[in-house]
Amino acid sequence: MKKYTYTEKQDTRSGFGAGLAELGKTNEKVVALCADLTPSLKMADFIEANPERFFQTGIAEANMMGMAAGLTIGGYIPYTGTFANFSTGRVYDQIRQSIAYSGKNVKICASHAGLTLGEDGATHQILEDIGLMKMLPGMTVINPCDYNQTKAATIAIAEHEGPVYLRFGRPKVPIFTPADQKFEIGKAIMLNEGTDVTIIATGHLVWEAIKAGEALEEKGISAEIINIHTIKPLDEEAIIKSVKKTGCVVSAEEHNFLGGLGESVARTLAEHHPAPQEFVATKDTFGESGTPEQLMDKYGLNAEAIVAASEKVIKRK
């Protein structure tokens, strides 16, 4: 089993900020918009270097999404920045009509997704955004797992023609993916091969899946661990191939089990290779205030929960 280690923790939003700053230097078509949250989105470096390519909309996300759609008409590649809740639910019809249905090349960059936003509480902790975004025809949905991967994804989506939802977060999490790893949209990353259970994780749960894999190995269980950074289009081939081998699957995400990665996996398997599945996800609930660790523990979104789900699903084979 491959060992993953880290020397540093960083927030994925900082990976976004670094990727955006780099795009500022390398791609003159990239422009950025923000609705009064530039410190939270780590946009300062881009803004400082490219003030003319930055649009401060004020606290007006609907206008921001519409303006982003408009900026594509004329050839620009707009990156919008606000919290995940205000990037999706707040502006769903603007995204649906002016961006997705109109086929506009807007990159919706969403920070503070999920429970790990912490103390601000449920009003800000969206756990439904993946579902909202993946249901929109033509929308690409990406949820990277660490700083390096978020930076790489931020840069890669500029080359992809079409709307993208890029989801990242607030807490500092281990950096374990290689800094030079190329980001391939829609391509699953095999982290560890195994034979007893497939663990498919996205975002902050990927590191937890790695830790769960180690704990399972100690119990004599061989887990195959896959990082699904792109929820849509989903790498169905990789999932089917793995589950054909292991015969069962655990999906893990910082999102509601209704509408999330897990449901996409379940649909894929139902169509191609039905298999028992357990869902490590929130179970149709809102979040609440607390520290990120407390919340991930209370709502069962950590390595221990993945281990328990793996043991359970293996019994169901």
């Binding site: 004020g58 205000f86 449920a122």
Partner: protein
């Protein structure tokens, strides 16, 4: 009317509560909270006819909606010290399993809260619905609201403002916390909103300005006058000029303290500037 000195010491205690809540969990929004202290103290201690035994429908009483939910620390302190829930509960602010969520919510059943807020720009619409319900119920009490000035950049406000003017919803008093600050800087630099008075008036509102929003006497005077303006066919707006971070010298007048907690040393200084009056929780 309560003694002004008593209200001032009430406000001092509220300021202590604000910085202590935020400091304990190293998160939350002291700036706007401190700036709106006098307003909320005036509202709950002097202006509103309200019942701390709390009934969601609020029939026969004045009711209040906090639209800029991030200033929950001042709201919670004033609610607790007005008898809505035990003041000790302020010690659970933003902690797991608490009723005092980061932003006010009905989900955990905290008395005094009638709607979730935190996602900005939604409070006035809700308040208008409640104001219309009061009219249907032939309930002559009033609906009060508070909004941040940056918050007014959200378009939904202007849908609500337009509705209220067009439909003569004259049992609402909406106050705007004009502190001139938001997250990314001053409201003028982020997105200049121009002449707010003229804007509200153009939408059919009766607008009052209270220039000294941190002088509790002036706030009470202004709100009393605003009450006189209700029931005359127009919604009433109070543009309340305040200082973000008021009462804690190093927090005053800057967006830096919009959503940042003081460290131990800063807390000590903030508390020294606001000596205990009603007793800490």
């Amino acid at each position: 009317m309560a003694n002004i000195e008593e209200l001032k010491s009430f406000a001092t205690q509220v300021r202590r509560d604000i910085v202590r809540q935020v400091h304990k969990v190293n998160s939350g929004h002291p700036g706007g909270s401190l700036g709106c202290t006098e307003f909320l103290v005036a509202l709950y201690q002097e202006i509103m006819d309200h019942d701390p035994s709390f009934n969601m429908d609020g029939i026969g009483e004045d009711i209040f909606f906090l639209s800029n939910g991030h200033i929950s620390p001042v709201f919670y302190s004033v609610l607790a010290r007005s008898g809505y829930f035990p003041v000790e509960e302020l010690g659970t602010f933003r902690m797991i399993n608490s009723r005092l969520q980061g932003h006010p919510t009905t989900h955990e059943g905290l008395p005094g809260v009638r709607i979730a807020s935190g996602s900005l720009g939604q409070g006035m619409s809700v308040a208008l619905g409640a104001a219309q319900a009061k009219k249907l119920n032939k309930d002559h009490k009033l609906v009060f609201t508070l909004h941040g000035d940056g918050e007014l950049q959200e378009g939904q406000n202007w849908e609500a403002i337009m509705y209220a003017g067009a439909n003569g919803v004259d049992n609402i008093i909406s106050t705007v916390d004009v502190n001139g600050q938001q997250i990314d800087g001053s409201t003028d630099t982020v997105l200049n909103m121009g002449d707010l008075k003229a804007k509200f008036e153009a939408f059919g509102w009766d607008v009052l300005k209270v220039a000294e929003g941190n002088d509790i006497e002036k706030v009470i005077e202004g709100l009393k006058e605003a009450k006189q303006h209700t029931g005359k066919g127009k919604p009433v707006c109070v543009l309340l000029t305040t200082v973000m971070g008021n009462g804690v010298d190093f927090m005053m007048g800057t967006h830096e303290w919009h959503g940042k907690a003081p460290n131990d040393e800063q807390l000590e200084s903030a508390l020294a500037q606001n000596p205990e009056t009603l007793g800490d929780y």
